[in-house]
């Protein structure tokens, strides 16, 4: 009971918490105590834990303070006390990030790592590896290899995990330990086997072939460790996902086999993998029944895992999920609200119309208790319901409006607004109620972005409603009450009413002229612009500048404007040349808790940075389009080359992205010998001076298009040429001596019509546009297509023209309607009718464009 007595005394001294009110300077003073001999282990250990506690609480030490503390700590190596030594290691690890000259302890740690005391060795390895850099590593390499195969599992694990950490900085060195690590996979100790597999898999991450070998071999061997099995399932699932052939069948079998493992962790891992594989496994039933069992577990994490994974299945296999309805019903009042939410939303997604009201009532009983992430899940589920059961819109919209009134962050509110907006757009019956809810919401909305979006929607949808004037009041209220950006958006919305409802025009003009006196420049400018345009009464002008405005990609627009100002400020800027904002692709329709994803930049945005390296690039004008990459080599070769085509108005930039996958070679003066079709002229070649192992770099070639559009189709031949220097695979230092020149053939590639066209599917106003272009030159022709099926034929034609699949309509006779802008800015419209006849599939293709040669080109591209 002595320990309790001590506790009591301390309690009197410090009020219970010995770590309360710690002062940094006093503790750093106390560190001086470490110099005393003999060392008092208990006291020193206590001081060390105080230092660690301070660091853990987020206290900042200066480099000098950290270095002093670090050196004081090194004095404690004289003590043999195990606990103290371990605390010293911990301190070393923590302080090494802040202090200088930490490598001073290398020799002490190396001694401990090779010593007799097992309790030191494992921890010493981890401490040592956290302070060494790649140059020092060579010195301890031998010990590391020994440690990996050590029979003490702690030592072996420590070495393997440290090697894994090191592999991010010194991958080649760690690769040499792979043989030792391989042995570890078969270890009897579960953790050693897991860590060894993790290390081996990490070193082979970029080498698919050997990953295949590894997984194939291990799938047959009896691995006991549940963690290792989980990892192996992930590796196998990844291979299945990347491989479309039947070769992946054994992996699927292996994963299915793991469903019968005795550890829940492994079973879940396997079930999750099967359910999420893109390629459908033969039979989902075993996986689903496992998840069903989880739903009935007493552990919340198991229930959540089961419900979550089932929820993901709703889109692909609603029938499989519907079979679990009973189990999910049991979860709707689960004390863990996350589980309950998932269960309800899944049931909503799979259930019948009749059960909606009951489930909605259940949700509203606890919706205030759940986190925003799950509220968003609920909102999305309701949104899907609106599409599925349009008749229920009244109650669903009311529910959404109720949620809109509750507390919540921007993301949550935006999700609700999205749902209502979708409802308004999809369901004409719900339009009036939906807009009314949104109007009410903007009356009291603190998020500027959201208010702006809703005003935009009101501007678009309001004029089409039966009583447009009632929305104007709501919108105009914003002009009076809100901040600048919202006022500006409100002005734009008001103008829409004026443009689309002639009977309101006089009133709108009055409102706009009032806004012309606004304090904010943007608001004033908009008001004046819209008033002027409305004044003209020219329907074309009103359509192009108020109703249907082209929206260029803002990032590219900014860049293009900057380039334009630098290169030719006096010339006119052509806004049509900027790629327009791409339509967001419809997301997969699943019930899922939102996982944070990086912001997706468009491909043009990503590469415009790299293109800036080419001298004279700004003279080519703004970038028209970037064609997604194609591989010019097989995936598993020495040098990998991918091609990106950047299209400009009259020029073409070919970007060859090269990767050198040989770690014992450095390539210099890398360039590409190009054999372009006739009439293409090479302007500039930017070679890549040096290509080191695993660091992608690019060769650029600038070509000028032939002056006639018709000549711009053709095939390019290419060869990669370079000078090879051998080098040390570990350090990357090249060997002395001259390199030798070598070349490497690349696959041929095409310049097609789709590459040069920014195409989009025909929208609602396509018909009018086609009629309007009646007087433009038209080219028509009839083709017999090689495909037998009209669906396939239609898809193939779309691909040739670069049109999205959405352009296809019709059943027996397929009609493709689309249009686009060709490089240089000429618009073009196409219509194709495809029908099957006795002779095969025939197509009549017509193209209209102000430039006749362009219309011809489109026909040539298909023919």
């Amino acid at each position: 009971m002595s320990s309790f007595k001590r506790d009591k005394k301390e309690e009197e001294d410090t009020g219970g918490n010995p770590y309360q009110n710690l002062d940094k300077t006093i503790i750093l003073q106390e560190a001086r105590y470490f110099n005393e001999t003999p060392v008092n282990p208990r006291k020193c250990s206590h001081i060390l834990s105080k230092i660690l506690y301070l660091l853990n609480q987020g206290e900042k030490l200066t480099t000098q303070e950290a270095t002093d503390a670090f050196f004081a700590t090194t004095k404690l190596f004289q003590s043999k006390d195990v606990m103290l030594r371990r605390m010293v290691y911990l301190c070393i690890k923590e302080l090494s990030k802040l202090a200088q000259d930490v490598i001073i302890v290398t020799s002490s740690l190396t001694k401990d790592m090779t010593g007799k005391e097992d309790l030191y060795r494992a921890a010493a390895i981890r401490a040592l590896c956290s302070i060494t850099d790649s140059t020092m590593l060579q010195a301890i390499e031998r010990y590391m290899k020994q440690a990996i195969v050590d029979k003490n599992p702690a030592v072996s694990s420590a070495a393997l995990v440290s090697a894994l950490h090191l592999s991010s900085t010194a991958p080649d060195l760690v690769k040499r330990w792979a043989n030792e690590a391989q042995e570890g996979i078969n270890s009897d100790n579960a953790m050693v086997s897991y860590h060894a597999l993790g290390l081996v898999a990490a070193t082979r991450r970029n080498d698919k072939l050997s990953t295949v070998k590894l997984v194939t071999r291990l799938a047959k061997s009896p691995i006991k460790s549940p963690y290792a099995l989980c990892l192996l399932i992930r590796l196998a699932a990844q291979l299945v996902e990347e491989d479309d052939s039947d070769a992946s069948q054994p992996y699927i079998e292996f994963i299915e086999c793991c469903l019968r493992h005795k550890s829940e962790m492994v079973i879940y891992e396997a079930a999750h993998a099967i359910v999420n594989l893109r390629k459908c496994a033969r039979d989902l039933a075993p996986a689903v029944s496992v998840l069903q069992l989880f739903c009935g577990s007493s552990k919340a994490s198991l229930r959540l895992a089961g419900a979550r994974t089932l929820a993901r299945l709703t889109a692909k296999h609603p029938a499989a999920v519907a079979a679990c309805a009973v189990d999910l019903e049991n979860l709707i009042s689960d004390p863990n609200r996350s589980v309950a939410t998932l269960a309800v939303t899944t049931l909503l997604a799979t259930g019948a119309e009749s059960s909606i009201d009951r489930l909605m009532k259940q949700i509203s009983s606890f919706v205030s208790e759940i986190s925003d992430e799950f509220k968003i899940v609920v909102v999305k589920a309701i949104r899907r319901l609106c599409t599925k059961f349009p008749r229920k819109h009244q109650s669903l919209a009311a529910f959404l409006a109720g949620m809109l009134r509750d507390e919540g962050g921007l993301e949550y509110k935006a999700a609700i607004a999205d749902a209502i907006i979708a409802l308004v757009e999809e369901n004409p019956d719900a339009k009036e109620t939906g807009l009314a809810h949104l109007c009410e919401f903007i009356e009291d909305c603190e998020h500027t972005t959201l208010a702006v979006r809703i005003l935009h929607l009101l501007g678009r949808e309001g004029p089409k409603s039966r009583q447009p004037s009632r929305y104007i009041r709501f919108i105009y209220n914003r002009v009076i009450l809100e901040s600048g950006p919202v006022r500006a958006a409100a002005v734009s919305a008001v103008a829409q009413f004026g443009a689309q409802r002639p009977e309101l025009l006089p009133n709108i003009k009055v409102l706009l002229s009032r806004c012309e006196l606004d304090d904010e420049d943007e608001v004033r400018d908009r008001a004046i612009l819209y008033n002027a345009i409305l004044e003209t009464g020219d329907p074309q002008l009103i359509n192009d500048y108020i109703i249907n405005i082209q929206k260029p990609n803002p990032v590219l627009l900014e860049r293009a404007l900057r380039d334009h100002n630098e290169a030719q400020p006096e010339a006119r800027f052509d806004i049509m040349a900027i790629p327009t904002e791409e339509e967001k692709q419809a997301k997969e329709d699943i019930v899922e808790v939102e996982v944070r994803k990086p912001v997706q930049a468009s491909i043009e945005e990503i590469y415009s940075e790299q293109l800036a390296k080419i001298p004279g690039i700004e003279k080519l004008g703004p970038l028209f389009k970037t064609v997604p990459h194609i591989d010019l080599t097989e995936p598993e070769t020495e040098y990998r080359v991918r091609l990106l085509k950047h299209i400009y108005a009259r020029h073409l930039v070919l970007q060859f992205e090269c990767i050198n996958t040989l770690n014992d070679q450095i390539l210099e003066q890398v360039h590409v010998r190009l054999e372009p079709p006739q009439d293409f002229e090479i302007r500039t070649i930017v070679p890549c001076q040096k290509l080191v192992y695993d660091k992608p770099d690019s060769v650029f070639i600038v070509l000028e298009y032939p002056s006639a559009y018709y000549d711009s189709l053709g095939t390019f031949g290419a060869t990669l040429e370079f000078v090879v220097h051998d080098c040390d695979p570990n350090t990357g230092v090249p060997d002395s001596g001259e390199g030798y020149a070598d070349s490497y053939p690349l696959e041929e590639f095409e310049m097609g019509c789709a590459d040069q066209l920014r195409a989009k599917a025909g929208l609602d106003d396509w018909e009018q546009a086609w009629d309007r272009a009646e007087r433009a030159p038209e080219a028509t022709d009839t083709f017999v297509l090689p495909q037998n099926d009209i669906n396939e034929a239609a898809k193939a034609v779309c691909e040739h023209l670069g049109l999205p699949k959405a352009a296809i309509s019709g059943d027996a006779v397929k009609e493709i309607r689309g249009g686009g802008i060709f490089r240089g800015g000429a618009p073009v419209l196409v219509r194709a009718r495809i029908a099957s006849s006795s002779a095969g599939v025939t197509m009549k293709l017509a193209a209209r464009s102000p430039r006749e040669d362009l219309a011809q080109l489109l026909l040539a591209a298909v023919g």
């Binding site: 219970g16 694990s157 995990v161 894994l164 950490h165 992930r234 699932a237 208790e369 986190s371």
Partner: protein
Amino acid sequence: MVHKKIAMEGSLFEPTLYIVKGMCILDNDGNRILAKYYDPNTLTTAKEQKAFEKNLFNKTHRANAEIIMLDGFTCVYKNNVDLYFYVMGSSHENELILQSVLNALYESVSILLRRNVEKRIILDNLDAVMLAFDEICDGGVILDSDPTSIVSRTALRTEDVPLGEQTVAQVLQSAKEQLKWSLLK
């Protein structure tokens, strides 16, 4: 690094050993007793971490629901008297693996504190608990998940056990039994 895949597009779990994003122990006011975050990309500053912990505590201290999705993390948790134990992983992670880490953390701390899992006792044994943290997770990689082996590796100070009371071996024995009980439940 354009050649590398930006993110695994699919919904499969990532084949990596870096599973644990963080572990922490909070007291019943939500104050940090110990916390470690392992992901170099998220929650890197002490300010962000404390804000996250505050949010986490507010969301969890009333409802004892074992698991919660928060701010892009899956958090499993457990509480006892005046202590809250949390293990965080990516929102896209096998929940059961995280649960096994939490069990390892809780059980080993519980053995180290001889079943007196309370704030006062944990503060008296903070050094041992720090070592346990270090033995459970190294930079996000699960190092060990077996409480008995974790405790044996944290080098329980032998002279701490008063004479006439139990030895280390006995502590371990009782731990094993307790474990058995918890499994039988």
